[in-house]
Amino acid sequence: LPAGGVSLRLCSTRVSLEGINKPVIDRIIRVDHAGEYGANRIYAGQMAVLGRSSVGPIIQQMWNQEKDHLKKFNELMVAYRVRPTVLLPFWNVAGFVLGAGSALLGKKGAMACTVAVEESISDHYNSQIRTLMEEDPEKYKELLQIIKQFRDDEREHHDIGLEHDAEAAPAYSVLKTAIQLGCKAAIFLSERI
């Protein structure tokens, strides 16, 4: 009798959950979903302030990619029967405030925020990729592919941020450290609750 094993039959929106490490996958999908949701809100906040400026189109483009990411994680969440983090309403507000707040510091401030967040996210995706590779690269092939692709996208956003003078932002290193600390806390909490 499998202890704590969950078995599901195949269905159009669900994958077979036989033999997967449910607790690990649960965490990964929950926190990634929360992350993409937060990123969406951050870009929304930035657009609210800087939408009509010269960096508007760039931010919009990055935002669109995050929307695609979120959509994908919504699908994965349903497929793997994962519970979303209970902190979603909080990330909704916090993300928007962070985006708008950093944008109020100017275009470079917004870019600095982007650099900080995207660096955190790509590091985080990298450690997830490591975890899944250690578990069973074959079993989690599809998930690995998705996370790798997204990690590359986030890396690209990070580079775009740097290209647009993120480092020239006021109090860049302080800002970056603070934001990355916030991201670490958000990741820790969203994995668990």
């Binding site: 009798l1 499998p2 202890a3 969950v6 599901l8 039959r9 349903v78 029967r81 979303p84 979603l88």
Partner: protein, 284 residues
Amino acid sequence: VRSQLYQPQRALQASAVLRRVSDEQKEPLASSQQQFDSHPTDHQPEKEPQGPRPSYTGQGGQESEDYESEEQLQHRILTAALEFVPQHGWTAEAIAEGAKTLGLSVAAAGMFHSDGSELILHFVSQCNTKLSELLEQEQKLVQLGKAEKKPTDQFLRDAVEARLRMLIPYIEKWPQALSILLLPHNIPSSLNLLTGMIDDIWQYAGDQSTDFNWYTRRAVLTGIYNTTELVMMQDSSPDFEETWRFLENRVADAMNMGNTANQVQSTGEAVVQGLMGAAVTVSN
């Protein structure tokens, strides 16, 4: 199908008791301090493993093909004990009687807590599994086109009713079970089983929410289930029709709540837009 079998504890004591049991059965029947069946029935060869004594830590090679794990044995005893619950309640007596029908010593009841916790949790877990299987079958019929897809409110009503009907044979003793499930040491397990069941029902109802609605829906359904269960305890109408009517009203309330929430939101948005328009007009 979610298989969420509750796993009884107290492994060390259990293995000692079982070894005693299998010892007793191997001895020639001189005196009989206990009343147990001396003729194990054919379909239960596992109690008397020939060859090496059952090992509870060994894997693979040490086990004969009929080897039954301790957990499986405990599940069988608890399942057999259910038959005696209407008479003895959720107690060690019922478990002892159940053990007897399997040809085991009544001392086997010593494997379990004296308050009947494991028996109740086992029963709940079994009911939840049966519900999942039922919903699974219904879903297959819909997928094959042999049945109509039910609207959400009816689906929820039918699922909760089906699950609560499983309590009917034990309804006299169910209040006792509920109070035992609320004991602090049982709360983690009973909560786990409850949330698992509610999640299952929503899954089959087609819930695909990935936002806070996920929590709202489950909280609402849990409330409906618990209150209906309590109403059922007090219900003396024929075939519990009062309970099902209560259930129908609660589910309708929940659906309305959803609609009302949407209406409030749209009204709010309309009001805001109206105010913005007014502000623009005034400023011009």
